[in-house]
């Protein structure tokens, strides 16, 4: 309250009863973010992908959805948005319904990234490490050499490394910083590690169901870093604008939001 003004009324405890929430995020926010994911799913982001089709621009914001809403609400928003998109934007549906699961895990990881406490990060780490071992292990048993596998999954390894190092906490702190420059740095770092790990999870699944020959692994070496860079830039650019706007508007902040 402004120093010069002393209210006559007694201060009351404000409880946020203003509508249903999911894990502290208003349902309206979940609906809006789901709509954003669906809308961005219409935009094919790349024609080069291991599974052979294009992937949607929405993949650039899955991590951001989790950062904005928290793990559960973020996962729900991304999942609903992606599920609708599978039917209304089939040109970017890729592997179809499994992509809904990828979106859920992706956004949940974004939410876990900004959690201050709890063991969610460890559970996520177990999932990501298992995914990596499964993915690379299966490749080695077919026709991929270890050096090629390591080169093609360098970004995945970087993602795991960033997840276990204090960089995860650093990204969280920067995202919550009032300075928008730090927010941008935090989003870039956070989205990078989330994208890398979530894509490892998705690749493990897709590789198990489709598989691709060693020649494709060679192509992945230069392609994956470029794609991940652009995914991360998309999340960062959109995220900085959205976070700046949300802060300026003074709208209620979801309980587990990272900003």
């Amino acid at each position: 309250m402004a120093e010069s003004f002393q209210p006559k009324g007694e201060e009351r405890e404000v409880r946020l009863l203003g509508g249903a929430t999911i894990d502290g995020a208003p349902v309206a926010y979940v609906v809006v973010m789901a709509a954003v994911v669906t809308a961005l799913s219409f935009v094919p982001f790349s024609v080069v992908f291991a599974a052979g089709g294009s992937f949607p621009l929405a993949q650039g914001v899955y991590a951001l959805v989790g950062i904005l809403l928290g793990p559960w609400a973020g996962a729900l928003a991304a999942g609903i948005g992606r599920l609708i998109a599978v039917f209304v934007a089939p040109h970017t549906a890729g592997v179809g319904l499994p992509s809904v699961v990828f979106a859920v895990v992706w956004a949940a990881a974004g939410g876990i990234l900004v959690e201050k406490r709890g063991w969610g990060w460890l559970l996520a780490l177990v999932v990501f490490v298992a995914s990596y071992l499964f993915y690379v292990g299966r490749a080695l048993t077919i026709d991929v050499t270890l050096p090629l596998a390591l080169q093609a999954t360098a970004v995945s390894l970087l993602g795991l490394l960033l997840w276990v190092l204090p960089t995860r906490a650093l990204a969280r702190r920067w995202i919550a910083d009032p300075n928008l420059g730090r927010v941008a740095a935090g989003l870039f770092l956070g989205c990078l590690m989330v994208n890398a790990n979530a894509l490892t999870f998705a690749n493990a699944w897709v590789y198990y169901t489709i598989g691709w020959p060693a020649k494709v692994w060679m192509a992945l070496v230069p392609v994956v870093p470029v794609e991940q860079f652009f995914r991360t830039v998309v999340g960062t650019v959109i995220g900085v604008g959205v976070i700046a706007g949300l802060r300026a508007l003074g709208l209620k902040r979801p309980a587990k939001a990272g900003y």
Partner: protein, 581 residues
């Protein structure tokens, strides 16, 4: 004493992250069946007060809350919004923003379905609500096919279907043309009068509030300054004008007469009261018929700057928005384009900046067909300020927003800084240069867009509804600037519904209706062409209608446009015929 429908006791509220409270020690008691108008400048706290009545403030926004707010006997801090929604119906400024289904009846049924009202009861309530706002027969129509006034009436029907004890409307008519505005006020007043619905309405439309409200609340900087019947509150002309608020034009006219030394028992606040008071003064007051006359259009020299020839535009859905429009605007002119919602005004303006492609016909700026000009080249010649400021705002700082286009044009940084500082100063936004644009009230965001366009220094400025959502002071600030720019040689086109604001500024008026130009004439002639204006769902300013009534009585020609002009025509000659009113 019966329990009031609204009881606010020492209510103070501060939004999270805000540096100052939005409401300060508000005390207000609203009895059942009242129609309370809330008037105040931009940022006075009108919207916050409305939102506090259904618990959205503070339950959705959070923040700090002091005192007590009881609505229908329920403490708004202790009952969730969905409980309060059964007692309070809300209608907001933008009718588009609150309609979300695909048919009129579904729209009205939506909230009831969410509250698990049985289907038979829903059907009955939908029928009643639509009848109450006179939208029967349109049940299957798509909401987006309705006119602006109909959309807002539909929003009111959706609120009414909840059978609320209290209907809260937050500036529900600012985006509507005068006939749409009339429809909404007539509907709300009838619901209040005939069905006993209690109404709280924030609005700048003081002429209508004076007509219908039982009490007015004047808010400024979150504080209640005055509460009372419109006659008492609006009579404080100087105090209200000092706050940047308007009073009805007839009130202002009588106030001017009072300032000339006339002793008047009361200041009338409605047209009927004003006419009645004049009747009592006949004989003492005499209207001179000399003075302002309808001038012919001034001769124009040289080639026109904007030339529109036989322009047609058909939108992809088949709507014919422009039907063979031809218009010429000469350098240095100030033209106001008026017309009903959907008349084609904005569509015409968008062709001048080539945001739309003509279906047929041509648009030339400076003699060149706009189709041959690049967007960048056209943007340097024509500045377009769109109706919704948020469509043109995309950076994270006020200063950056103004500088953006200049830097994109590689203007030297020192010049960028100079122009940004000038534009922000002109629009009164200099103190907010480091703020996020979305943290500003809508009126300030509109001025920010004007500042961004101004900084580019275009020769032609097109303002599309620049005064919508502005308080009178904000509107004047924008229009004063437009006049200064015209005086500097710029050509100005203003699209507006707010006819009463234009007399000090525009010289020429173009009246549009249903995609065609009905009249292109000097402003004075156009504002007195009442029949033509009505064809476009417009009506002249209150003072013009009042003057026309006086002219008919006195048998004189009275083509005045402002209260000052009318006061100048009144000669005080002798004693009152009937001793006043």
């Amino acid at each position: 004493m019966a329990e009031p429908i609204v009881l606010l006791e020492n209510l103070s509220y501060q939004y999270p992250g805000a540096s100052a409270p939005a409401l300060r020690d508000v005390n207000l008691r609203v009895e059942r069946g009242e129609f309370v108008g809330i008037v105040g400048p931009t940022g006075a706290g009108k919207t916050t007060l409305c939102l506090a009545l259904n618990g959205t403030v503070p339950q959705f926004y959070g923040g700090r809350f002091f005192g007590r707010a009881l609505v229908a006997g329920l403490d708004t801090l202790e009952h969730p919004i969905h409980d309060l929604a059964r007692h309070v119906g809300m209608v907001f400024q933008d009718p588009e923003a609150q309609l979300l289904t695909t048919s009129v009846e579904n729209e009205v049924a939506f909230a009831l379905e969410n509250l698990c009202v049985p289907p038979e009861a829903i059907r009955a309530r939908v029928a009643r609500a639509l009848a109450a706002v006179r939208l029967q027969g349109l049940e299957k129509k798509r909401p987006h096919e309705l006119s602006g006034g109909q959309k807002q009436r539909l929003a009111i029907a959706a609120a009414l279907a909840l059978e609320p004890d209290l209907l809260v409307l937050d500036e529900p008519t600012t985006q509507l043309d005068p006939v749409g505005q009339e429809e909404v006020f007539a509907t709300v007043a009838r619901l209040n009068r005939e069905q006993g619905v209690t109404v709280v309405m924030a609005s700048h439309a003081v002429e209508y509030l004076a007509e219908h409200a039982t009490r007015l609340v004047i808010l400024d900087q979150g504080q209640v300054l005055q509460v009372g019947p419109p006659r008492d509150v609006l009579a404080q002309v100087e105090q209200l004008e000092a706050l940047g608020l308007r009073v009805p034009q007839v009130t202002r006219f009588y106030h001017l007469m009072q300032a000339r030394g006339e002793r008047l028992p009361t200041l009338p606040v409605t047209q009927d009261e004003a006419l009645a008071q004049y009747r009592g003064l006949r004989g003492r007051w005499r209207i001179r018929s000399d003075g302002a006359a309808v001038a012919a259009s001034p001769p124009r020299e040289g080639p026109p700057l904007i030339e529109v020839e036989d322009l047609r535009h058909v939108y992809p859905d088949g709507t014919e928005a422009l039907r063979g429009v031809s218009l010429r605007v000469w350098p240095g002119e100030y033209v106001v384009i008026v017309g009903q919602n959907g008349a084609g005004k904005s569509t015409l303006a968008k062709h001048v900046v080539h945001l739309l492609e003509p279906t047929s016909g041509t648009v030339r700026v400076g003699g060149e067909d706009v189709r041959g000009l690049s967007t960048a080249a056209l943007a340097q010649r024509v500045g377009f300020i769109s109706q919704n400021p948020d469509n043109q705002i995309f950076t994270t700082r006020v200063e950056e927003e103004v500088a953006f286009a200049l830097r994109a044009r590689r203007v030297p940084e020192a010049e960028v800084q100079r122009r940004v500082a000038w534009a922000l100063e002109e629009m009164g936004l200099a103190p907010y240069r480091d703020r996020h644009p979305l943290s500003l009230p809508k009126g300030d965001r509109a001025r920010l867009v004007v500042a961004a366009v101004l900084a580019m220094g275009p020769d032609i400025l097109i303002f599309d509804e620049p005064t919508t959502g502005q308080d009178p002071q904000g509107a004047r600030r924008i229009l004063d600037l437009s006049r200064r720019l015209q005086e500097q040689g710029k050509t100005v086109l203003v699209i507006t519904h707010h006819l009463y604001l234009m007399p000090p500024y525009a010289e020429r008026a173009v009246v549009m209706a249903r995609g065609a130009i009905l009249l292109d004439a000097p402003l004075r002639q156009a504002f007195h062409a009442v029949d033509v204006l009505r064809q476009s769902d417009l009506q002249p300013p209150q003072i013009v209608l009042f003057a026309r009534a006086l002219a008919a009585w006195e048998g004189v020609d009275l083509p005045i446009l402002t209260e000052e002009e009318l006061a100048a025509r009144v000669e005080v000659t002798g004693e009152m015929e009937h001793g006043g009113v």
